[in-house]
Symmetry: C2
Amino acid sequence: MTTLIYGSSQDCEIAFYRAFEAADIAAMMAVWAEDDDIVCVHPGGPRLAGIEAVRESWRQIFAGGPGLRIQLSALMVTSTLQTAIHTLHENLSVPGDNRPRVPMIATNVYLRTRSGWRLQLHHASPAPGQPPPSPATSPGREPATSLH
Amino acid sequence: MTTLIYGSSQDCEIAFYRAFEAADIAAMMAVWAEDDDIVCVHPGGPRLAGIEAVRESWRQIFAGGPGLRIQLSALMVTSTLQTAIHTLHENLSVPGDNRPRVPMIATNVYLRTRSGWRLQLHHASPAPGQPPPSPATSPGREPATSLH
């Protein structure tokens, strides 16, 4: 298990999305608090609680290996001494696949623990509306689907 | 504007769902932090930020008046001195309408402010899967839709 200490919620968030892109389950679980109250809601998925359920969900998502690109935008942060509430848009893509996709709206809540900042909660759901228009080079593609 | 002081995140949550059921916009907005960083994501909706956008969304939801019943279940809470992270299932129904509905998964984050505990973030999205079977007394109803 990776033993990095994240000095801020921002550092922890960068590590979360790097692990997500890299499909690295050890790096992903090192980001989360070591707490059976951690909560993860993937888009369209159930509420998962506890380390085992959260790890298993990422193991399944990562089963196909890396290849996903995630661009983050519209970050908003509200912090207290021990907690940071982040919301943002996740713009997911696969290099070479130009199908338009709607962004995911993510709520990420981080706690300052004795092991540095850790992710306590991730709740993601699709933003509304049609995905942006297909690039002119890829007309007639089928509608985007959620990767996350 | 109501000026109640909520002494715990639980009290604030009860007030939130009472205001939701009552379609009471003043009571609803009294629950929220007075902060332009408040965030609200209704199921299938965009990320709304700031008091004006959040108020307008509830005004639209409440336009039809009260009539919704909300049963809460599966509450999980993680707290620090200044923050409480709640996740739960919202089971929405309209008395007399027995159509089955999937629960909503809600993340509610409360902050302890100078005016007591207030809601800083609400992010709700539908739980997966088919709604539970229709009661035997109402076969052939159309599929459930989200009220919230």
